[in-house]
Symmetry: C2
Subunit: 348 residues, 2 copies
């Protein structure tokens, strides 16, 4: 018995009670409260009064069962404790709330199976729409799973071919290329790059920018310093340790995403290397308050709040019949202290 008994909490007031009090049919109550046009002024007042007096609130589940609309949006991300996702979720929830929708939050824990279970759960809950940052883009059953949802979908930084969904994509390659070119122009050519799996757009687009910078600069692309695997901190840390203990070790590092950056920073610390001094360091995506920490980190910045708002807007648009669309969000290379360093030996 999940709902506590409540000492003397009178049974909840239903549409029948209102009908009885107003002395009209229940269908009239429903019509008045849902703003149906064919209702006389006299009826409207009578019903409104009775409803107010009784403090009537329509039962959500009965409404959803009958009408099919749940006013509920699913939100799936790897990990809500990642502050970048946190900002997206916050802004998104605010926008959805304004429009009368509530948000069902689920962490996928970066796991394909968990993600799939979550989507199934959301389908049973008949969500009106889904906003998701998927673990991977090329899971075989993914498209059919999402289509079975029978609800509009907005993907965050993912490109799933053949799926009729909206997407909020970031223009990663631009920011990463700018950052890489800056590092090259400072004299670096051994630049390390750590990011997640190439099975998602995010990584592929970052890599594109990284590669094109070397091409544009006419410098050899350091294949051995590129490490792509997972977005989490564990991977970032172990790969940082590995790369920075190589014989011909890198002089600069780009870390892709909050998780990678966290891992990289921890790894560097354990190796006793200081960003901005012993190496040049650029983080892709910012931590909150990145600009005020004692040490100033360079970054490739994108506006998480805007991503959240745009995702909500795109979804609401689709719910009310609009077509899917793709929104491109700009990224910007922000130069701070940590872009220096790593070349002392060579400068001499």
């Amino acid at each position: 018995m999940p709902r506590s008994k409540g000492k003397k909490s009178s049974a909840p007031v239903t549409i029948h009670d209102v009908a009885e009090r107003a002395g009209v049919a229940i269908s009239s109550i429903s019509r008045v409260l849902s703003g149906h046009p064919d209702v006389s002024e006299r009826m409207r007042i009578k019903v409104q009064k009775a409803a107010d007096e009784l403090g009537y609130e329509p039962d959500f589940f009965a409404q959803s069962l009958r009408s099919g609309a749940t006013k509920t949006i699913g939100f799936i991300i790897r990990d809500i404790s990642n502050p970048f996702f946190g900002v997206i979720a916050q802004c998104c929830e605010q926008e959805l709330r304004k429009a009368g929708y509530s948000m069902l939050l689920m962490n996928s824990d970066g796991d394909v199976a968990t993600e799939s279970i979550n989507i199934a759960q959301l389908r049973r809950r008949k969500i009106d729409g889904l906003i998701a940052s998927l673990v991977s883009e090329d899971i075989p059953e993914l498209n059919s799973t999402l289509e079975k949802l029978n609800a509009p979908v907005v993907l965050l930084d993912r490109e799933v071919v053949g799926l009729n969904s909206s997407a909020i994509l970031a223009n990663h390659h631009q920011g990463v290329e700018d950052a890489t070119l800056d590092l090259i122009s400072r004299g670096h050519n051994r630049i390390a790059f750590i990011s997640g799996s190439t099975r998602v757009y995010t990584t592929r687009d970052r890599l594109k920018g990284f590669k094109s910078a070397f091409k544009k600069a006419g410098v050899a692309y350091p294949t051995d310093l590129v490490s792509l695997g997972k977005f989490d901190a564990e991977f970032g840390e172990s790969e940082t340790k590995r790369l920075f203990t190589l014989k011909d070790r890198p002089t600069a590092l780009l870390s892709g995403g909050i998780g990678s950056t966290a891992g990289a920073m921890r790894g560097l610390k354990k190796l006793g290397l200081v960003p901005g001094k012993d190496l040049a360091f650029v983080a892709i995506d910012e931590w909150p308050m990145f600009d005020v920490y004692g040490q100033q980190f360079s970054s490739v910045y994108r506006d998480a709040a805007m991503i959240g708002r745009e995702a909500a807007a795109a979804l609401l648009e689709m719910i009310s019949g609009g077509s899917p669309r793709t929104i491109m969000v700009e990224t910007h290379y922000i130069v701070r202290d940590s872009s220096s360093g790593g070349l002392k030996a060579k400068k001499k």
Copy 2:
């Protein structure tokens, strides 16, 4: 029409379809699938087979409407982009998911009215339980609003008198007292303290620790350096600026909570003051990765992941009939670089 038509998506399979296929009554389907004891093995197999073949999934809303249980938990916090809350939400959601519950996330934006609207919304959605970090403890209608929910409640770091709910409280005063005593022993007596409103337990308990440290040390308590108002960064920044431009300005600062800390750091930066050098600085609550930033910040630490898990556990316990309980989480003063500084003039 919120649910898209779906080109040829066959109508969803209902319990009637399964009953027809298996050649039994619909009540038998329900009994088998909900694990009712009075079911023959033959029936169980027959029904299971039919259900599997049709890919039957019970309609969530019909179930909830009839049974009253929604398997949904409300989660209300000020702001999910605060990484401290993010960790709590993440761990909490994981635990709830394991138990078959989903989480409805709502930001209160630190606003009493928004919070109240959110609670009303959750009531209409007949949540099975609520986990909340409330904006304030002494809103007049708060108790009745929460009681009308008719579901168990777990409060995060809040003490609401007369409410029959569980609570996860942190032992703030211990950590704050330790930190303050350390600063006093280093020679500080002009220590500033910024935190949120005293209308919540969090602030009151921190203040208690702050005050008792001065008493224990026999040092005059600097009333003019205590600033209590809001938890957000704006307040933290403006108060930091105000306090550190006083004539007899403080030599140390404790900032209460992630928001205050963010604001304080920004304020100090604008004033050109460096923590650990121009002043001693202790943050109450940690940022993720606090320990690896170039600059090492001292903190009063508490385990957010544990808070999230405990909250989920306490709620699930109450849902299955257990009594409310209060869990006390320890805090620890962690000394890092930023506890130094601020006393150069005096040292000479």
